[in-house]
């Protein structure tokens, strides 16, 4: 009786999650996969096959944009890690107990504002007649207003700003669990700062690093607003091309193909990243502690 009740409550607790995954993640993916295999031969006439994928392989425009998107996303991930690690270390280990919550909250505040507003914030700051340019001119640092918007650097700045939080949160929560005596032991045994950092801190933080990098990379590669709004005339982004296929070209088949390819490609990059750094999900993110 009580076992049945236990099982029932487990099923009930599990149901929302299963429904979520099933209806909102798996089912749509199957739908997208199905559409991507549909070839359009005429008005309302379709055949099955891999033509959409072949078309993708032949068009350099799309391939290059996919690589470009992946490359910039990797760069953003690395920058977010480099910038986020000291911040997380400070919050988790150096800051006093009382200021820790406040610091953490300060990192969270940008998330309370929507993506769109944050992007417009950067636009107001960086445009040719914007705050930064005008300030520099009035201080006499430069003679002519300069345009800091509409290029890849701006896109990277905007993306790092948007995603760095997703790096900091997992890093802080892993490093908070690190016992200070580990560090002391390292120093006592004659380790230099670098050695202690390399041999103790990084390995301990590895689950957080891997989790943060995966989340950040996936969010960046799938982002749409920031690259479209801050990017200029040469900044193509793969999600923008997916949007174009679906909306302006009415070509759902190609759009779905691109969607599947983006998912496969980013998964491949994550797998490669884990492989190259000698990590695996089992020993990092899913590690028993």
């Amino acid at each position: 009786m009580s076992r049945d009740a236990g099982r029932l409550s487990l099923i009930l607790l599990f149901a929302p999650f299963a429904l979520w995954i099933g209806l909102l993640i798996i089912l749509p993916q199957i739908g997208i996969g199905y559409i991507s295999l549909r070839e359009k031969v005429g008005i309302n006439e379709y055949e099955f096959g891999f033509k959409n994928y072949a078309d993708f392989a032949q068009a350099a425009v799309y391939r290059n944009t996919l690589f470009r998107t992946a490359w910039i996303s990797i760069l953003v991930t690395m920058l977010a890690l480099v910038l986020g690690f000291p911040i997380s270390y400070y919050i988790a280990k150096i800051a006093r107990e009382r200021s820790r919550a406040a610091l953490f909250l300060m990192c969270l505040i940008p998330l309370w504002v929507s993506d769109l507003v944050r992007a417009y914030g950067w636009i107001v700051l960086l445009r040719e007649t914007g705050v930064v340019s005008t300030a520099l001119v009035s201080m006499g640092v430069i003679n002519e207003p300069i345009e800091m918007l509409y290029n890849d650097v701006t896109v990277i700045i905007g993306l790092v700003y948007t995603v760095i939080l997703f790096m900091i949160v997992p890093l802080v929560s892993t490093m908070q669990g690190m016992d200070d005596s580990l560090l002391e032991a390292g120093f006592n045994l004659g380790g230099s700062r670098l050695t202690v950092f390399r041999r103790i801190v990084v390995p301990y933080a590895m689950p957080g690093i891997v989790a943060g990098c995966i989340i950040v990379f996936m969010i960046t590669a799938g982002s749409y607003l920031t690259p479209v709004l801050l990017g200029g005339k040469n900044s193509s982004w793969f999600t923008e091309q997916i949007y174009n296929q679906f909306i302006t070209r009415y070509n759902w088949e190609a759009g779905a193909t691109f969607g599947v390819l983006l998912l496969l490609f980013t998964s491949l990059v994550v797998w490669l990243g884990l492989r190259l750094t000698g990590q695996s999900l089992a020993t990092t993110v899913a590690k028993d502690t």
């Binding site: 799309y62 679906f246 302006t248 009415y250």
Partner: protein
């Protein structure tokens, strides 16, 4: 306390009882600024049993939304006249209009006939005109002079000071500027592709001159009003709005003819409030409502005295921009045959992805 709670409850019950009276909802799928609050309030005051809900969109998204739902979810849409025919044939998302329910007498006859010619399928008419406007060039005359056509967007004299929207309009405009007649080539896919290749090359070479591609009216207004851009492709309505703030910025119809669009009223196939939709159509074509509408949109209503019914500042802007020969030279967008958007899409992607500086 008790009586107060009872009073509250009674009030709630009353308001719930009153709700079923406003049973009908009119769900509009239209352009930003095409359903100003003032007009909605007046409409709801006249027809208290109709609630108006508005979703703002654009041509491409309207079709995509209706295609995704099989034409349900909205009761009245406003696609441009050239976007109805192919979308209807391919995706069957609209239903024919009952012309007897529309006051077609108030509409400009040639626009009414033009839209009907564009949107008649199997003898049934799917659209009537609402407002029209054009795409052309916007120039800040304090900074640039002698701008006459689409080609000036690529003029090195304005290095880093021009802008355009990377959509099909610029492909067509540049096609005209290069001596083609894109509308005549619509049915000959090979010839059209050849033209697209030429235009693509031209626009790729042009990338070093332009500052950025604008994406919406607000974006464009900011670029022009700040002086960062001095020559840009534009919708005339956006230019007319800006003229009110800075009279140096005027709309210039390109010498090859401004490209004219007519936004229509079209009823989605799954619309559930046709009567309310017809009421809305007739309501917004009344002269006093046209005035309010044009003040909000900057576009000209499809009624014979449409230009006179514009607010003063916009009428002044129109008079600066167009003379009779410009109006005679308007190039109305021709019906887009199925598949054309895909070819154009490829051209646009190539332009965007090409690297220039």
């Amino acid at each position: 306390m008790k009586p107060m709670i009872r009073g509250l409850l009674a009030g709630t019950a009353l308001s719930m009882a009153a709700a079923p009276l406003s049973a009908e909802t009119l769900r509009l799928l239209t352009w930003g600024s095409y359903a100003p609050d003032e007009v909605i309030e007046k409409f709801e005051a006249e027809y208290p049993d109709i609630d108006v809900e508005v979703t703002f969109s654009n041509n491409e998204e309207m079709i995509a939304k209706l295609r995704a739902t099989g034409g349900t979810g909205f009761d009245l849409a406003q696609p441009s006249h050239d976007r109805v025919n192919a979308a209807q044939q391919e995706y069957n998302i609209y239903k024919p209009l009952d012309m007897s329910k529309i006051d077609t007498d108030v509409m400009t006859p040639n626009l009414l006939e033009g839209v009907a010619a564009n949107t008649t399928i199997d003898g049934e008419v799917y659209s009537v005109p609402h407002q029209w406007g054009t795409s052309g060039i916007m120039v800040n005359q304090a900074e640039a002079s002698g701008v006459t056509g689409w080609g000036d967007l690529c003029n090195e004299e304005y290095q880093g000071r021009t802008s355009m929207r990377l959509r099909r309009t610029i492909l067509l405009g540049m096609g005209f500027a290069m001596g083609y007649d894109p509308f005549a080539l619509y049915d000959d896919k090979e010839a059209y592709q050849e033209m697209l290749n030429e235009v693509t090359q031209k626009l790729i070479d042009c990338k070093s001159v332009i500052k950025t591609y604008w994406t919406g009216g607000d974006d464009l207004s900011a670029l022009m009003l700040s002086g960062e851009v001095v020559v840009s492709e534009t919708w005339d309505s956006t230019a007319f709005k800006i003229y009110a703030e800075n009279p140096d910025i005027v709309f210039v119809p390109p010498e090859t003819g401004a490209l004219a669009w007519i936004d229509t009223f079209t009823i989605p196939r799954g619309g559930e409030a046709d009567d309310a939709a017809y009421k809305w159509i007739n309501f917004v074509m009344r002269p006093e409502i046209v005035k309010l509408m044009s003040a909000s949109t900057g576009a000209i209503a499809a009624v014979p005295n449409g230009i006179e019914l514009l607010p003063d500042d916009k009428r002044a802007a129109v008079e600066v921009a167009f003379d009779q020969s410009d109006l005679d030279n308007l190039k109305f967008f021709a019906n887009i045959p199925p598949g054309l958007e895909d070819m154009e899409g490829m051209a646009l992607e190539q332009i965007k992805a090409a690297s220039g500086n």
